[in-house]
Symmetry: C2
Subunit: 520 residues, 2 copies
């Protein structure tokens, strides 16, 4: 068999059986080998940012990497923004980047590019396969590296001749799984003492600790000791809803986060980073840890964070039933004009059990978290790295990962335009995604930020760069052009009905929700 | 004034008065300063690949850089593919990449990213501004570096605090212009001897030598000495049409180029690279220079290539009037079904004088060059770096650069989907662009390449990754969704009429041309 087939077989053997692809000539042997390794599902995307964002969504849902198939440096570049988000989410992803044949590199052909530098900016693991005989082992190493723990983006560069040449070694066996390490007893005892000290203490949960198991344990700790339970601003995959202890996420705005952390004397990080301001602002703090607060770490990324929380709960003497689950509650079906508030109520009223919510709603989604807090249990995926354009692709990947669950994509209009091509893949693969485009017709967050950075000008030239009118984007036409049925709603009642209808039907659909430009 | 204003004033002073922008929070002071420096025209794009491709098109038309405004590493990443094309075209471009405030970097906030590595892969010049007092000088240096000769992508990283802090030094004066160096007399005499030797000789023109002046001089040389006149496969901006000597471009397929070069004993490069195969193929040559052929260089990039050709023409004793201009000729208005042949004839019949053709037609555009060879003089911009998705953005930038000229964008459907957002900017700026989408509903070039690389499988799984049906893309809906009027034509007659109507009207429009999936 050739290198391409050895690669595909190794990936499948190692549990990677989905590949989000946007191939070019140097990847043609990989593409041809798909027919020989039918266990691998090749999914075409029309743009690499869709492929990488879908791999992020898939990996967040399954904990296993999907592969991407990208075309040299420019293809990797097109996928870079969503790989940045995946890196921040610690999502396992295996990039296969096709390259020129090894002997062709010296001719500096038009597509010759510095793949190593581009990949280095987002990859936790990087290797160039030297020859077909190495492809299997390299692929097995890539999957192991991507899987972690913690997960990372692993990038394997596949020269065309390594792909088309005969591999005498063939596929390679899976690498052994690595277990996350437990928290040391001494550390747990020390943190239990901190929690019993009477000083104001907060747990800050992130990464792998924000699933139901970790949240239950953390809630037991907090209920028993009086500590605050906080979460990272942008979790990779938060489990929430009725019956699951609620996580109070730190605010995006530094002022909000500072208010939440006010007076905290001990901050215990659980697979989370110490809080910092998302951006710098003139005269404002970057480091959001209160003065005099001691920062502790219960679990680093790659350690067993839920297990550490359970051990800590035992150490503080928390009873098994002491966690405080979120009560079941849904807002009333809203009536009247569309606004961030009625949008939130409609989502809260309609969200089905087991939903996967991909949240790139930005400013327009302000009230959605509150309105869905008591909905049936669901997953919540956010924009971990701040590189906009993750929503539609991640929803695509999540739907591939969990075909029996409804996916809701809350998508701000400005961000939607980065990777709108994802809708076509949703149509082709008949994915169960409801996209709600929050059409406030502006980069509303930038209008806010323009004030916050102190740039008080904001004259007409500046405003025009933050405004999405002239012409208005018609998302129903765009969606239909990509093969996804779409409608625009004009009232809260219509929205709720449209959501219920979409959740009840298989396949993708899009709902455009016109919202006022200003916040509120 | 603050650093942002010093930057904008310096750019304008240095002749850079257009900025294709996709800003984020760290760029808000730059955005705010646009109202204080009204000579700078800020043009919003909905995706960074549009901004960088537009800057490429603008720079190819004017020889002067446009600025881009990009948001940290992910924004630069989104623009990377078209910067790759600009690098290959040696287009002057000045990227302004906003970054976190210098003191914020150490906190590794979510958008912290390795801008240097990403930028390094495409930039001929790179600098991080350290403080507001340096911004002006850094910007002047960036413009000088980008302008060249030869042109290059210059990337200036602008930390937010350098942007918002007071600049005591203010704007900086323009750097002196650098003149391209002439060809040494000795070299010209030596090459004149080669040309008179009777051995089979070819001139290979690229870069700055493929404008009318260089083509006239080269044609005189060839008419006088019997040398062949060849051009690079993918010129940045070729001047052509009736009255201008025609350039026989090397074929994209190595076999074609090899046939063109067969028997050549001397190859004289004029701002061009020695020919290499675009991709490697099993058992086929990468280096396309015939065995035994001596490669000479009349002008390197950055040297005065048209001047060198004129000196060479004199040295071989070519008379002033000896150049062979292309005769005026237009195909008859075609009739019948749409095909690559009737498409080409329609374009040849309708192309207006002074048109700017941005050609990302790929396989479907096979016959267009022939059918337009005798059309009134026009410019022809191609995909220099092989990173697809340049067409719509470059057409946008070219239309900004030359508002009084009609722009024709020949756009393959697969490639169109990478940067379709450009249409919205065309609508907002009311740009005079006619986009012709060549809708063969496949990555046709990959179907061909699948055969050529020797991957003879091409089973259903492979074919599905190269096919753009299920669902069909509806380009008229997509275009209308982005604010650009569009229509689908069904015959050659309709196409010709639609082209004429679009060229006669101001503002953008799109024509979808359904074509058969297979070549021919």
């Amino acid at each position: 068999m050739n290198g391409a087939r050895a690669l595909l077989s190794t990936l499948v053997e190692s549990g990677v059986d989905v590949c989000f692809a946007n191939p070019g000539t140097s990847e043609m042997h990989f593409v041809a080998a798909l027919d020989e390794v039918p266990q691998m599902r090749g999914i075409l995307t029309l743009f690499e940012g869709v492929a990488t964002g879908a791999a992020d969504g898939y990996g967040r849902m399954t904990g296993r990497p999907a592969a991407t198939l990208l075309h040299l440096g420019p293809g990797l570049g097109n996928g870079l923004a969503n790989l940045h988000n995946a890196r921040r989410a610690r999502t396992p992803v295996v990039n296969i980047v096709g390259d020129h044949a090894t002997y062709h590199t010296r001719y500096d052909a038009p597509l010759e590019s510095d793949i190593a530098s581009i990949a280095g900016s987002v990859s936790g693991w990087y290797r160039v396969t030297a020859r077909a005989d190495d492809v299997g082992a390299d692929a097995a190493d890539a999957v192991a590296a991507a899987t972690g723990p913690p997960g990372c983006v692993a990038t394997l560069v596949l020269p065309a001749d390594a792909s088309w040449s005969e591999s005498d070694t063939g596929p390679c066996a899976t690498r052994p799984k690595v277990r996350p390490s437990p928290a040391p007893t001494e550390l747990v005892d020390q943190l239990a003492q901190v929690l019993r000290s009477g000083e104001k203490t907060a747990l800050l949960l992130g990464g792998t600790s924000v699933r139901a198991r970790g949240l239950h344990a953390a809630s037991r700790v907090c209920a028993t000791t009086g500590a605050m339970l906080l979460g990272e601003t942008f979790p990779a995959n938060l489990e929430r809803g009725a019956g699951i202890p609620a996580l109070d996420r730190l605010g995006y705005l530094a002022e909000f986060a500072q208010a939440q952390l006010d007076g905290v004397q001990h901050l215990i990080l659980v697979d989370a980073k110490a809080p910092v301001s998302f951006f710098a602002y003139p005269g404002k703090a970057s480091d959001l840890v209160p003065a005099g607060c001691t920062v502790h770490t219960l679990a680093w990324p790659g350690q067993d964070a839920p297990g550490a929380l359970e051990t800590l709960a035992e150490a503080v003497g928390a009873a098994q039933g002491s966690a405080i689950p979120a009560p079941a509650a849904r807002p009333d079906r809203p009536t009247g004009p569309l606004s961030p508030a009625t949008l939130a109520a409609a989502l809260g009223a309609a969200l089905p059990e087991g939903a996967i919510v991909v949240d790139e709603g930005n400013t327009s989604g302000l009230f959605v978290a509150g309105a869905t807090a008591g909905a049936p249990p669901h997953d919540w995926l956010t924009l971990t790295g701040g590189a906009i354009g993750i929503g539609l692709p991640a929803a695509t990947g999540a739907a591939v990962a969990a075909p029996d669950r409804p996916v809701l994509c809350l998508q701000a209009d400005g961000s939607a335009m980065y990777t709108l091509q994802a809708l076509w893949t949703q149509a082709r693969e008949d994915l169960n995604v409801t996209t709600v485009v929050l059409a406030n017709r502006s980069y509303a967050i930038l209008n806010m930020e323009l004030q916050r950075v102190g740039a008080d000008a904001g004259g007409p030239a500046a405003r025009r760069l933050l405004d999405l009118t002239e012409p208005d984007l018609d998302f129903t036409a765009l969606s239909q052009g990509l093969g996804v049925p779409a409608r625009r709603v004009e009232s809260a009642e219509e929205l709720t009905k449209a959501l219920e209808a979409s959740f009840a039907e298989p396949g993708p659909s899009l709902i455009e929700v016109p919202l006022p430009q200003s916040l509120g």
